[in-house]
Symmetry: C2
DNA sequence: CCAAAAGTGTTGGTTTTACACCCATGC
DNA sequence: GCATGGGTGTAAAACCAACACTTTTGG
């Protein structure tokens, strides 16, 4: 019997802003799961690569320009989609949420950033996909530097600290954290300062892209 | 236009025996690439899961019963297969090569264990898949214990040492290695000994499965 | 008794942890 | 001047890397 399997891609896109990590979800315009929240994605065209398909769907449905994208996992359970056998190659993305405006179109009735501890009910097996993406995000911080893809270009050290605290879900020692990060030699300290209303103004830092990506390649061992 | 993409699975299966790591390959019986070596695999049936498909193809083509299987990566380049758009979900497997007899059938004209530094030319993009699998195998030893799935049930410590030396591609300090491994507390020392012809007989060890899998779950940081 | 592989401890250097006070600013 | 967040050093403990000789067997 002829194979009748269809191929889709989905993208779990994370953003970080002022102390919380959010995920980009769309409200589905059509059945199945019309009116329910879902991870953005859709069918792959015959002549495009998987990455092209993800970027196209994200652009079409949400207006997001992706900053970092990697393959997460392929979900192939025969029963995962009520329309028939549809397998999905899930991707994992990171963006600076402030860098653009999201808007809904094509299959999306609405687009929204959800904090990862305030998620709505999801369509299909998207909860499973999202859970896997979250655990991948968490484990990434133990073997590579993280932040460039999520933080603004210039940021106070405390932003990075807050990002790690959020991802780890626990407090960290500020002094030791700063020493460890600075020793990685991926941050350049700027002479600009920023004041957050009250308290001493903070020095701004930026990632040194070259050393950052070099370190990603080399890998690190990083116990905070 | 209707989507016309087909879905296949491929499995890179590693085995370890007397100091070398080998990969299971088949010689293709049919075109394209008839007579060339390839990673075992094939099309997914409409109603089977991806894992079922991998295990079925391995059984059919090679007779191998797999011991450990994980998803590796999904290859979706539109040009990767001359027959049309075929995407492949690649898996990564480990077996005890001595535990059974391999034999060729269905699409395979021949099956053979190749040492990973003596590989033949491969069909499709299988070299890329295999290279990725090898680097995954190598990186696995830095974040989880490894050996249970590759070594015999009972083995002298030197077998484990040789496995690590082979995977790392360099010599390691025997004393420090032994200390580090024993500290992980995943090996049970047996009172049996085995003699390899000449030299002092070695004590046999076995993995304590419970603690081994617990440690896999927890993860380790392991610089040899 | 020789060759071959197995087994085993100590030391110095490095890294990691734990921990608390002063600084610069806005109000 | 006080509340707020930013910035900083040190000492003890844990961990890691380097290093070589003795033991047990087979021939």
């Amino acid at each position: 019997m002829e194979q009748s399997i269809k191929l889709s891609v989905d993208a779990v896109v994370f953003g970080y802003e002022s102390g919380t990590i959010s995920v980009l979800l769309i409200k589905r315009k059509y059945n199945p799961f019309k009116g329910k929240w879902a991870i953005p994605g859709g069918f792959v065209l015959n002549d495009e690569s998987l990455e092209e398909a993800v970027e196209r769907e994200l652009r079409e449905e949400t207006g997001v320009q992706i900053n970092y994208l990697e393959q997460l996992y392929t979900f192939g359970n025969p029963k995962r989609d009520p329309r028939g056998r549809i397998i999905s190659v899930a991707y994992f993305g990171l963006v600076h949420p402030n860098a653009f405006k999201i808007y809904a179109s094509t299959d999306a009735e609405e687009v929204h950033w959800f904090k990862i501890n305030e998620l709505p009910e999801l369509s299909f097996d998207h909860k499973e996909i999202l859970d896997l993406a979250i655990s991948r995000l968490q484990s990434k911080i133990t073997y590579e530097p993280l932040g460039f893809e999520l933080l603004d270009e210039k940021f106070p050290f405390s932003d990075l600290e807050k990002l790690y605290t959020t991802l780890l879900g626990r407090a960290i020692d500020r002094r030791n954290f700063r020493k460890k990060i600075l020793k990685l030699n991926v941050l350049d300290e700027l002479s600009e300062k920023v004041s957050k209303g009250s308290g001493r103004p903070a020095n701004l830092f930026k990632f040194n892209e070259k050393r950052y990506f070099q370190l990603k390649k080399d890998g690190i061992v990083f116990d905070i």
